[in-house]
Symmetry: C2
Subunit: 413 residues, 2 copies
């Protein structure tokens, strides 16, 4: 075959598209019920914006556009960066807190693998201007409700919760400050590598007291005893958060090793996984109080999360929770011969005021028309012949039950 779609991208045929539309509609409804409003940003942004947060190393993963003018552009690889730019452009006039969401497509140049493609879709939730723990509670509650509203239950997923300030304060009791960043980076990937690899990576960075780190990361929240005021403050925050999330308790696992690699998180962080840890994380987020300022806005507290469509789809499929694709047609109007096509078109046109309707546009015989009506999942078929038009009495055939019903043409519409 000569022309193919680019590797790592997907065509959505009607069935898959209906599923995506239906899942997006559910996510949209959940966000709207939480009083979040939908926004959208361009597909590409200036390269200076895109590389600002994570530095030049991210450039390798950006689909850059060929330079046509002075400016360099790249396709967006997340939604937080462009939405933050958009927030800053009208920061002064927007009523705070600003609660936004976006359901959009983005791109990353990397080797395609299961649940991760070069073109992918995410729901992004962004909350600007609220630095309280209530804001974190709202975001986490919204994240869990997004999944519950799709039919998932506590048997299917759990949320790992941590406070980066707590992890940092506790680590600083064991390791020196200049090792902190690399320690967090390695801890963040602990669940993806072996114990041995974990130890080796730490050693490579000159971090030795690995036993202490290991025993620290296993601690439950009640096991952390301290007189250190930084630890205490971080512990208070997370305990207050857990109290606010009482009704979502069964979904939440405190986990000191959850760090969310990216350097820009500043407080509460969380990640959702399927209960069997079979897939990549379904969603992840947290607080990033420095990002707006980093992008040259006025310093603003912010929190949010990103939910990937690809992993969500894998889990929903496994749990038999894919929304029934409403890929049917209410009526198919079958003209007996070409003579009746014009009348069939008229009837279809009238039915379309209320229903979906298809009719013959191929001048096919009745047998082939019924085959086609079956293929497009027509619920009811109405045959239009000379007699029907003369008498004004139509036969409506239910394609599931096979039952036929006589209806007056004038009553049908």
């Amino acid at each position: 075959m000569a022309f193919q779609k680019p590797k790592g991208t997907e065509d959505y045929y009607p069935e898959d598209m209906a599923i995506k539309n239906s899942i997006f509609a559910s996510l949209r409804a959940t966000a709207l019920r939480y009083s979040y409003k939908e926004v959208s940003t361009p597909a590409f942004e200036t390269l200076s914006l895109l590389t600002k947060k994570e530095g030049d190393e991210i450039k390798q993963q950006i689909f850059t556009l060929e330079k046509r003018s002075k400016e360099e552009f790249g396709l967006k690889f997340d939604l937080t960066v462009p939405i933050t730019r958009m927030f800053i452009e009208n920061q002064k006039t927007l009523a705070k807190p600003v609660k936004w969401f976006s359901l959009d497509r983005m791109w990353r140049y990397e080797q395609p693998q299961k649940g991760r493609a070069r073109e992918f879709y995410q729901l992004s939730i962004e909350l600007f201007g609220a630095d309280s723990i209530y804001a974190d509670a709202e975001i986490i509650s919204l994240a869990i409700d997004c999944l519950l509203d799709l039919g998932l239950t506590e048997k299917d997923f759990y949320l790992k919760l941590n406070n980066r300030n707590l992890l940092q304060a506790l680590l600083l009791e064991i390791i020196p400050k200049n090792k902190l960043e690399s320690a967090i980076r390695i801890i963040d990937k602990k669940s993806k590598i072996s114990e041995k690899e974990f130890e080796e990576e730490l050693k490579k960075e000159g971090i030795d007291n690995i036993d202490k780190i290991n025993s620290l990361l296993k601690k439950d929240i009640n096991e952390i005893k301290t007189t250190n005021s930084n630890v205490k403050k971080a512990l208070d925050d997370i305990n207050q958060l857990l109290a606010l999330l009482e009704d979502k308790k069964k979904f939440i696992k405190f986990d000191l090793s959850t760090a969310r690699g990216l350097a820009y998180y500043t407080g509460i962080v969380f990640e959702v996984f399927d209960s069997n840890n079979k897939y990549r994380s379904i969603l992840g987020g947290g607080r990033y109080d420095n990002l707006v300022e980093m992008f040259q806005g006025q310093k603003t507290a912010a929190t949010g999360f990103g939910l990937g469509y690809a992993t969500l789809l894998l889990l929903l499929r496994e749990k038999n929770l894919l929304p029934g694709s409403e890929n049917y047609v209410d009526f198919y109007i079958a003209p007996v011969s070409e003579k009746e096509i014009k009348e069939a078109l008229k009837i279809a046109s009238k039915l379309r005021k209320k229903y979906s309707a298809a009719t013959d546009i191929m001048a096919r015989n009745l047998g082939n028309q019924f085959k086609y009506a079956n293929k497009i999942k027509a619920k009811k078929v109405i045959v239009i012949g000379e007699n029907e038009l003369k008498s004004g009495k139509l036969t409506v055939k239910d394609m599931d039950s096979g039952k036929e019903e006589k209806v007056e043409l004038k009553d049908l519409i």
Copy 2:
């Protein structure tokens, strides 16, 4: 300001986004009622695919991606090309006729101007596998219904209809075959240039009998008398089409000068303009029976149209037909002090089973909370204080009328 969005692109803030969602929902509903199914293709395609139809000159208008592997990619600039590729990949198994639509975003590198940006949205309707005039009638009827369903009327727009075969056959009575293509190209832009420019361009191509061409293009369909069998055949087609579109007659103007520049149209062509000819065309389409084969599929009749969001939006705004943006929140729960925030969160959470609800996550005083509730267009505000929680009796304030109502907490949810 340091970071700005790229020129010719748009941020959709909540108000504009709600309008776009609402217009898209209307277009989607119309297409579904006609039994068309939604599909979607990647943002970028191989450059060889994108340039196949219109040749290398289109390359200037394509946002190409920087080369990362052997393949060259560009952002799509229309939907017909990628959807045709997608059709061909499963051509053998799809039930014919295939009726698809797509509502998507695309990109063109050109100077931004009113109603035409570098990033833009279109509805594309594609019908594969039906070569009858009934298919053309269905597509045109669907195009008109898309606009009627948005509230536009025959006072607001009209559809120019032509048959390229008719234009060609009539031109060949006046000019030699080797001048045909350039003549059609120039005729196609007649309405955009002056009479003098029109004549000059024709002369430059060595076409002299301009008076004959001018008088030909003014002819109404009844004024075309002929014994030429090609003209007759093309005339029959369009007369049959007009008969099928009887109920849409008032929208349709026969216009021999409508050619749809692109070389790939093969029969019926049409374009919709606002009645004052103030804007660019709102939609345009026609039959393209050679395209599937040109893209190395098995020869398949095809027809369809593309409707641009930008021009549609300009017209709907002028006619005061923008859908009311449903940018409100059902309930705002106002805790009197920080002590009541936890209860307020619980009540909001329960209300969200059915309604949209916001609550205070900033620990603000009541005055500031009411200001915020106003800004986010909360319909009703419920104040939660110590007394309310003790008595279980809440006051629900309607923000429009100012009326207050006493409600039992347990009855609210």
